[in-house]
Amino acid sequence: MTATPSLVLARVDEELRALWTAPSTAGEPPKSRACTMNLVVVGAGPDFATQCIPVIDRVVAHVPARAILVGLDPDGPDDLEASVAAVCAPEPGGAPSVCSERVTLVARGALCTRLWSCVDAICATDVPMTLVWLARVHSDDLAFIPLARGASRIVLDSALSSIASLSRVVRYTRAISERERPGLGDLAWTRLASWQELCARMFDPPRLRPLIQHVNRIRIVQAAPDDVLGPEAALLLGWMATRLGWKTASLAGNLRLVRPDGGYVQIQLRPQLQAGGTGGRGRERLIGIEIAASSGELTMQGEIASDHSAEADAATWRVQVSEGGEAQRLEQHTYLRGVEPAQVLERTLHRPPHDDALADAVLWADELRGEELAYT
């Protein structure tokens, strides 16, 4: 006979306590527990929780937490499966290990809609809950909404779900009073952090700073089988547009952006078919961007080009400046720090929970749906 959810949860609670009361075996270094948050990671499918164990174990080695990994199987028979483990980072020199806790759950059938209650029963007290929701979000999702209500921060991956999903969560959080509003993170947004920094860097020299108001062309290269603007590219565009005050406008059927001074920014999209997998970053991965700006005789052409394979994390940043017949060229090789999933989640958890730039970029990018870009 299958155990009832309450019996399963009682056993989980007992096992969690037993992890820290059981004496260490002889010769084994002592363990101590650290916990800064409940990290609830939810995805679709009965195998999801098991599949994400390696990533989450790496994350909690740096962000001590009670990790609760949940696979949702709404089409299965009503049932709740659970297991408990300690995740200990070995310390050098036999020093006491510092451990996090991991609970894996598989919620089936109606248990999916009551998941919030199950999670609530086994969360560590007095520490906040971060909900990492790695699936699409619909406004009437019976599993997502109650869980989100208890979260102090919600993290999505728009590259795996969609800008529309992220946009729904932005609207959901904005409807909550500022005092109670949960933070919001997006793994795709974190992956873009290095791109943003490298774009900003093009305009850091005081001499080039005025050119930022005179960007006239942006060319985006993304790994995509078709002409659809991917979430990463849309977010990057949204970020630039909202920072620089660009508005959308169509001209002869193609999307253009209008600068505050009335000038146009031409947007070009170049899909580039990629061999191999997606590197866990969605199909339409951003792989390059070119930015051109000019004012009078001064022109700047900047480029960020990532290495082409999905697993590669390196990029080349180039800037060419010319004025009055003189040209200067700078080039750097750098890492984008966007490949390793555990690192991306860890960085997301370390970012400030409230990021207006993300919310602004998401809402702007969401409006781009259905617009046509110029393709090259």
Partner: protein, 514 residues
Amino acid sequence: MVAPNPLRRGLVEDRPSDSCAVVIFGASGDLTRRKLMPALYNLAWGHSLPGGFAAIGVARREKDDASFRREMKEAVSSFSRRKPVDPAVWSDFEKGISYVRGAGSDRATYESLKEHLERVDAERGTGKNRLFYLAVPPSEFGPIVEGLRASRLVTPAAQEKQGGPWTRVVFEKPFGHDLSSARSLNDAVAAAFDEGQVFRIDHYLGKETVQNLLVFRFANSLFEPVWGREHVDHVQITVAEDLGVEGRGKFYEQTGVTRDIVENHLMQLLCLTAMEPPISLSADAVRDEKVKVLRSLRPIERSEVPKEVVRGQYVRGVLHGEEVAGYRQEPDVSADSRIETYVAMRVFIDNWRWSSVPFYVRAGKRMARRVTEIAVVFREAPHTLFRARGGGTTPNVLSLRIQPDEGIALRFISKEPGQQTILRDVAMDFRYGATFGSNTPEAYERLLLDAMRGEATLFTRRDEVEEQWAYIDRVLRSWASDEGTPPHAYAAGSWGPEQADDLLVRDGRRWRKP
């Protein structure tokens, strides 16, 4: 005035400085190898260096760019917290590394440097912004500052305010030898640089745990109400090193632990512990509050020095199970040296909050273990309900461990489970490494980046340095006039001379063994 880069607004990671060239005087020295270049490399690894960046070494030895780069790569391989060296990051980083041979006192050095910097500006896009880092002995500060000024390598601060390039200068400690030399040095620096261009390093301020002191005190509502004379019995600040002088006998013979540690690191820890909440976290707001503490220190009159200050010198002893030599047996140390390698002081802060609360501070070399700690010892409960076996109850102690095992512990009393009422000291222990991981940035990474960004909060201001010296100078002058009394001997591997224990015992207290 150039408008801020709007794309930087709201970026939460990777905040690099403006493009700039970092010029390191003393490029052949240990500090460059062990700290500065690894810190710059780590910043490069973490995307924190600007797009246009160059690091230029200046030193007397003859070498070319290629051999300097090789040396620096070896240094980074040995001392960076990120190992092994990443070939791609290094390959870019080393393109910006170059070397200029020259001496700080030689005018020709600055002419060569000027030409070199102009070339670097053109090739590396460093935008004429320069950060001069003086990793040299204090005796060279003056000539270098004058050389930079005379060669017009210093852009006036007013030009920066109008959007022009900037010049900043970083001084390593010790800044001066006493109050008079610190003032002279400050005057010489002020003749070439605006105070806003001057960054005096106390690398303790770059440590995460020291920065956390402000957060701990002013972001938690729990502690501030009990942080004062009504609840605190006394405070102990310990900066103990297990190392000896490690081949720096010559340097130590001229400084001693009071100038090396107490005048700067220890005074800064005291200020951060005792200061009032600043009105903001701006550089001047924080430094204003620290200066107020320094001005409130009760001066130790010459006649009081023997009673309030204990100095010691280590003799042969056993440390970590091994016999170690005494200070006078160290190379380059005089056989009858009277330099102190240990000092303990009872310090009072005459202000509303701390009136009559003693701060016992101590610093020493070759002590039983390496530890830096601030311990706030609270008053005992006014009435004891419980009879503890073997005496009364012990007071609550909040200890802030700066290094190693950075963390915060609160000691309190608990009942042991059982039929009898047996009281036991227990500790709530928070360790940074356990909670946030151990790969935190080195102090020099933060400080270099702050200097490049022009953020001065973690650097000491002129008046701070002079107030620190003003307080310590009385003690030094008293010792100088009392040449007949040698420092008390203490065995290497101990916690200092017995006389230092008396400093507390006569007040009915004792040193902690952190």
